[in-house]
């Protein structure tokens, strides 16, 4: 197990290293460069000045040398300044990350708490109305454009009914109820698009488990139906479900970007969008790398929990 963990960890770090170079190169291909920004702000700057500044800041170096310089500075704790916010980028990223976590954890918790019982009942009562509704809801969830669902919810509850704020976030230190009011619509948008597919995952995992011999054995030994389903069945069905949840993290993150942009929720997704649109190279770079690291961590956790939850899986041994 330890060997497996260290090997998977090594693999993930390698992928992260490669991806950080890819992202660095991509950001370098975005329109303009920091010197262009300076020129547009200062009409007295000549082309020679610009060329001199490019040499001074090392912007004329080949991309791998620039990447190496950036990496060394980053290891020293210097991630650069944000052009949009005039602050070191890590100071902007951390609160945004906190806001995103708040939104994602709320949405994920509600979704899982609703989806697990729904999926179990749908698996037990196949071809019932509930089963068909879960299926339909899952298809609707993956087919509806999240930005449009967000827009419709905003129109209904903020514009027409006026019950909830149309966007933004409560000021620091506001009472909990006020903070929750801002959280409802963004979290609902994310939850509604994921509940259906989560329930469907639970359903198919449950159907697989209920076919097993030990379920029949448990019933034969006199355990009640509900005990067999909830204790024997669910515990085993949760293993593949947890894996899928962790693998789904990238999808959830993409959803957060859309929802945060529509509802002006100051999280990571919106920050990435604003940074890319506003040519804020340092901020875009670090936030994209953080997002990649998060998705990789999700995948790694998926593999590790799978190994940990199911003792039958012997890892690191080639069959």
């Amino acid at each position: 197990m330890t060997g497996y963990v260290s090997r998977r960890l090594g693999q993930s770090l390698l992928v992260l290293a490669i991806m950080s170079f890819v992202i660095y190169s991509l950001i370098g291909l975005m329109p303009g460069d920091p010197i262009d920004m300076m020129i547009s702000a200062d009409p007295y700057m000549t082309a020679e000045d610009a060329a001199y500044l490019r040499t001074l800041y090392g912007l004329d170096l080949p991309v791998y040398e620039r990447y190496w310089n950036w990496l060394m500075a980053a290891f020293g704790g210097d991630f650069g300044y944000s052009r949009l916010y005039n602050q070191p980028v890590e100071l902007i990223l951390l609160p945004a990350l906190g806001n995103s976590v708040k939104l994602l954890v709320t949405a994920l918790t509600i979704s899982v708490c609703v989806a697990v019982p729904l999926g179990v009942i749908a698996a037990y009562r196949q071809r019932s109305i509930l089963d068909y509704s879960v299926n339909l809801f899952a298809f609707a969830g993956i087919s509806i454009p999240q930005f449009w669902l967000g827009l419709m919810l905003m129109m209904a509850f903020a514009v027409i009914l006026g019950w909830l704020p149309a966007g933004g976030i409560a000021t620091d230190g506001a009472p909990l109820g006020e903070q929750l009011r801002y959280l409802i619509l963004p979290a609902a948008t994310l939850t509604m698009t994921s509940i259906g597919s989560h329930a469907r995952y639970v359903r198919s995992a449950m159907i697989e488990v209920l076919r097993q011999d030990y379920i029949r054995t448990a019933r034969a030994k006199g355990a009640s139906v509900s005990r067999v389903i909830w204790r024997h069945g669910l515990r085993n069905a949760l293993i593949p479900f947890v894996t899928i949840l962790a693998l789904d993290f990238g999808f959830l993150f993409s959803g957060a970007l859309i929802v945060e942009t529509i509802y002006a929720w100051p999280g990571m997704g919106r920050l990435i969008f604003d940074a890319i649109m506003g040519n804020d190279y340092n901020l875009a770079l670090l936030s994209l790398m953080l997002a990649t690291a998060l998705v990789l961590t999700g995948n790694l956790l998926a593999d590790l929990t799978y190994a940990w939850l199911d003792p039958r899986i012997k890892l690191g041994e080639t069959p």
Partner: protein
């Protein structure tokens, strides 16, 4: 063709899947409207790009069946042309992605060893990327820095091909994994050994003997991914990074509708409803095809 050929059986099973059949019908109607966009709008006497500032966000009328948008353009005409764009982008990008994925998956599964390891680690890396943020970066790239000549980088249709290219660039992974897995088991089958024994070349065996056995799973994967691609295209267009005006697209129509949500809330309803209908139809159809083409099904 005998009465029980696999294709016939699959068609029979698909016909029993009511949702899939309804979806297929709806998609055919939408495709027909998109293909006949020019004659239809000419018949209605409307122009998708005809700006009329004196007649902004007008309610539905005889001249403009669904009213006009924030620049006084006919909403119905723009919806029709937007559908043309969405359908075309969805189908093209899904096909390009499937082609890339098939070639990569076939090579990885057939040759195995180092090549397999390299290709599959690349697939893992692409999957590890946070999809939407990376798509946004790719959509914001300066094409002249990549080395494209200005005549292409500045042309009117570049936003169109750019979106097909970037979606295909990230979207091939599902098909690659699927094809690799199937190839791994197929290449041990007797008919493949027979083909090798008969002196078949690697390319011939891969594309003439293995690929035909995979077509049905690839068809299902492509159908399901068309919906996902249309969603991505509309999301990027909504964020202002996809299809560029004046070309109409459902996503971009929603961006504008968001600004006029107080005066004309209905403008925000139509494009979204059409995206939902199109995407869910492709997903139902893919689901139906999956059941119908499953070789384990007996009836």
């Amino acid at each position: 063709m005998s009465s029980n050929s696999p294709t016939r059986l699959a068609m029979k099973r698909l016909k029993r899947h009511k949702l899939a059949m309804v979806s297929l019908g709806l998609l055919l109607v939408l495709a027909a409207i998109a293909l006949l966009a020019d004659p239809i709008t000419a018949l209605l006497g409307v122009d998708p790009n005809g700006v009329n500032l004196a007649n902004r966000t007008a309610p539905p009328s005889k001249a403009h069946w669904l009213g006009t948008d924030e620049l006084g353009r006919d909403v119905l005409a723009r919806l029709i042309y937007g559908g043309q764009v969405s359908m075309f982008v969805g189908l093209t990008a899904a096909l390009v992605a499937a082609t890339i994925g098939t070639v990569i998956g076939l090579c990885a599964g057939y040759f195995g060893g180092r090549l397999d390891a390299l290709l599959m680690r690349t697939t893992d890396s692409v999957l590890a990327l946070p999809a939407l943020p990376v798509l946004i970066v790719l959509a914001a790239l300066d094409l002249s820095k990549v080395g494209l000549p200005d005549s292409i980088a500045q042309s009117e249709y570049v936003s169109f091909f750019r979106i097909v290219a970037i979606v295909a660039l990230l979207g091939w992974t599902t098909v690659a994994r699927l094809v690799r897995g199937a190839t791994l088991s197929l290449k041990e089958r007797d008919f493949v050994y027979a083909a090798i024994g008969a002196g078949g070349s690697h390319l011939g065996i891969m594309f003439r003997h293995i690929l035909p056995n995979l077509i049905s799973s690839i068809i299902v994967a492509v159908t399901l991914s068309v919906g996902a691609v249309i969603l991505l295209e509309s999301t990027l267009s909504f964020l202002g990074l996809g299809i560029q005006p004046p070309m109409a697209s459902w996503g971009a129509m929603l961006t504008n509708a968001q600004e006029t949500i107080w005066e004309a809330p209905l403008l925000a309803v139509y494009p979204g409803l059409l995206i939902l209908l199109t995407v869910i139809s492709f997903n139902f159809l893919g689901d139906g095809l999956q059941d119908a083409l499953d070789p384990r099904a007996t009836t």
